[in-house]
Amino acid sequence: MTEAKEITIPVADPNDPYANPAAMPSSADRNPRSFEVGAFPEPNRKQEDWRYTPVERISEFFNVFTPSSETRIEVGMIDGSALAEGLALSQVKLGEGLSGTVSEPSDRAAAVEWNSGATATVLELKGEIDQPVLVKVHGAGMDLDAFHLVIAAADDTHADVVVEHDGDARLAEGVEIVTGKHSNVSTTFIQEWNAGSKHVGNHRIHVGEGASLRHSVVTLGGDVVRIRMDQDFGGEQGDLNMLGIYFVDPGEHIEHRTMVVHNHPECKSRVVYKGALDGKGAHSTWVGNALIEPTASGTDSYELNRNLVLTPGAIADSEPNLEIENGNIIGAGHASSVGRFDDEELFYLQSRGISETEARKLVVRGFFNELVEEIGIPAICDHLMDVIDKRLARGESDAMAQVLEEQ
């Protein structure tokens, strides 16, 4: 759109608030944003933001602690080489430099992370970076630790960042992502924690004017993983694409909350999260909020969550929320489903000689592959499918493992 247009923000009439719904308080007005722990009450399941979370299993993340500093961080290119030109890595005190510049914590756990940690790892990206940067976050023990990462892309940057988590950990993590004007950036966060690990994270994301950000989250392991993502735009024509994949084993709680805010005109957002749940007590939660503010004419937003329940006894909570305060938009769609295997798909594969077990694996692989292919960066797609195949290959026959590897 080149045509200049006038935006009028409606004002509520105190005598008749319903005459003008756009000026009613939104979740953004109701929910505090603060670096102070005291701004947020101790979480309990009566609070909307925590209603699906087993808060008793992560209560250690609700009060300021002394971090163990056992978590090991390595940053390099994905092929193992040293950082390419255009990349700068630094450590700053929390609150200095670029840290703490993207919005403010949106819940108690995020404020605790901020107040418990001491430093931030800052990764600055500038120019055309050919291959993905890999940030390895390795948990070296179950002592409570905090990690704060800032990813800042300058204007016009093209770059991809992969953040991998593995090992044993109880980690409070804060991530800030800020992208400059007309940049084109992807960030991929992989959680492959060992059994028993806990990870409570908060991503604060600011997408620059005319910029495109692909934000992917892949969570394949951990006793409790809860990642909340708060995002907004820095100007018109921003494009946000959030993808999520999760695989929940018995007894695990894996939770993703995507909070997309359209605060500028002509921006686009897509949120697609898909998960598979396996076994008794496997619990996934996806809550997708999309808030379209009165200022965000021409918004195009869509969010989707699909859950595949592999075996009985798993629970998937899926909750899309839309708050639309501007009627002049292209779209604000949502879809959500929880289902089991399609018997006809399984029969078709079986009728071609593929055993039921292998057929189930193929269907699950396909369920995720559809989404992974969307990422469109071969190095990252291959890496993700490797990770998913490894998860599916548990107990795989040798011959079939070979076939899967050759794909």
Binding site: Y348, G353, A359, L362, V363, G366, F368
Partner: protein
């Protein structure tokens, strides 16, 4: 030389109105290199016979046996039946999102043969078979049957028939939904596969037009859950002329036969 013997087969489905018997004493013997056409009115149980042989969980066998070279396949899971040499080309092939045709075919071939096919010869075999069926090479990278037209799905079924080399192929209304050109290409594919591998064919169809391309040795009329008449290719012409009315059971409520 292989034999498929269906002996006194009874099967039912469970509907919300209770148990509904569909197959009522099916008897048939098919040998390698024979082509049997199974014709009959809608709702007579032809497709049920096809799916029951392949082991679809919806159909419950009450009685009888189906011997493939003496082994009762009714005791096998669907994948074991495929490995034993049975292939069902479906009327409505199922879409499997996110699983590429290449991956699917290679996985199926590995399972049916008990070993992974040699990479180089396999790729060549696949691309040549696709070329003969006039399939766009890009189908190999697409998800199984996803976004395929009706005709493309049927070609993909015949492609699998050529690659998996079964002992017996059941073609369930493979001719439905095909235009004249597609019918010819698909039929030629079946004939080519049969020429190469000498399998037996059970071809379920309503219409005689596919029989112009795939010549049956034996034609059966199937009505009310069992075979009621068997003859040579001339029987198909007679059916084309006179329809199936005379084969509907005496005094039967034609509604139930058509249900």
């Amino acid at each position: 030389m292989s034999t498929l013997e269906i002996k006194n087969l009874y099967a039912h489905v469970e509907t919300k109105d209770g148990i509904k018997p569909i197959l009522k004493g099916v008897n048939l013997t098919v040998n390698s290199d024979e082509t049997h056409a199974i014709m009959g009115p809608n709702g007579s149980g032809k497709s049920t016979l096809a799916y029951t042989l392949a082991g679809h969980p919806k159909y419950v066998v009450d009685e009888g046996e189906v011997l493939l070279d003496g082994e009762d396949i009714l005791k096998m899971t669907p994948d074991e039946r495929a490995k034993a040499g049975l292939f069902l080309a479906m009327q409505y092939p199922v879409e499997v999102p996110g699983v590429s045709m290449t991956n699917f075919l290679r996985t199926a071939k590995t399972e049916v043969d008990g070993k992974a096919p040699a990479i180089r010869t396999w790729a060549k075999e696949l691309s040549e078979a696709m070329k003969r069926l006039k399939m766009d090479p890009k189908f190999a990278t697409r998800s199984v049957n996803e976004g395929f037209s009706g005709g493309e799905k049927k070609r993909a079924e015949v492609l699998q028939l050529e690659l998996l080399k079964p002992k017996f192929a059941i073609l369930d209304e493979t001719d439905s939904g095909l235009d004249v050109d597609a019918l010819r290409i698909v039929s030629e594919g079946v004939n080519r596969a049969k020429e190469a591998n000498k399998f037996g064919i059970l071809m379920v169809t309503h219409y005689t037009r596919i029989l112009k391309y795939i010549k049956p040795d034996i034609v059966h009329v199937f009505a009310d859950g069992h075979f009621v008449k068997t003859g040579g290719p001339e029987l198909a012409d007679e059916l084309e002329e006179n329809g199936y009315d005379q084969y509907l059971p005496e005094g039967a409520d034609s509604e139930s036969a058509l249900a």
